[in-house]
Symmetry: C2
Subunit: 129 residues, 2 copies
């Protein structure tokens, strides 16, 4: 994925029409850069081998974790938080929230869980979602 021009995360996010459907907008080494619009709650899952970075553009992201893992984290615009591999988590937002993500290219959207929210990598690479 050779990038020709600078890409605005905000504009890339604005172009999304569907909630909870990440779109790949770039790649650095073995990591995809993605954007997503979210509102409501995403199923609990984990990635055994891969960390996941969340960067908030608009709104507020709640990352749920068990009490043993430190409990929920709230991420605001301009802030990032990395969920380490192996940590069970979910994401939610009460208002429409725009986020960027950095994930290993092999990361599965909902970890080992198959849910109605699950999007394949092919879907995440498709234009016009």
């Amino acid at each position: 994925m050779l990038q020709q021009e600078p890409i605005s995360l905000e504009l890339a996010c604005a172009a999304l029409s569907e909630l909870w459907s990440p779109r790949v907008v770039g790649q650095v080494n073995d990591q995809y850069i993605k954007v997503a619009k979210i509102q409501g709650e995403f199923p609990w899952h984990q990635h055994d081998q891969e960390d996941e970075m969340f960067f908030v553009l608009r709104g507020q992201l709640r990352i749920g974790r068990s009490d043993a893992d430190g409990g929920p984290v709230f991420v605001r615009p301009g802030e990032f938080f990395v969920v380490p591999r192996g940590v069970r988590h979910n994401t939610s937002a009460t208002e429409e929230t725009w986020i960027a993500l950095i994930e290993t290219v092999s990361t599965l959207h909902t970890g080992t869980e198959q849910t109605p929210f699950t999007r394949s990598i092919e879907e995440q690479l498709a234009p016009n979602r």
Copy 2:
């Protein structure tokens, strides 16, 4: 590097006292997340094995490339650009510019060039720069 709290890229950058001295603020998989303040011009160099992602927080980043590689690129706040491995490049900014970078943990600051700007990974991990 286990992250305890969300981190604001803007505040992390504001805390830097020295130009051209990246500070590691996070890690996702085998990639470091760094912030830097820059102004003026950084030496030409390349990374043969590693892509480098630049995200601009404030100001304007100019990424110089040879004409054969497409020439210079200008990156504005909220935009990112990935310089692919093997592409000779330099970075410059006419005004003070705040950036975040994502680079493989093994990436050398000035590639194969040793310059007065070169900072070791240990220096980039040190607090209070």
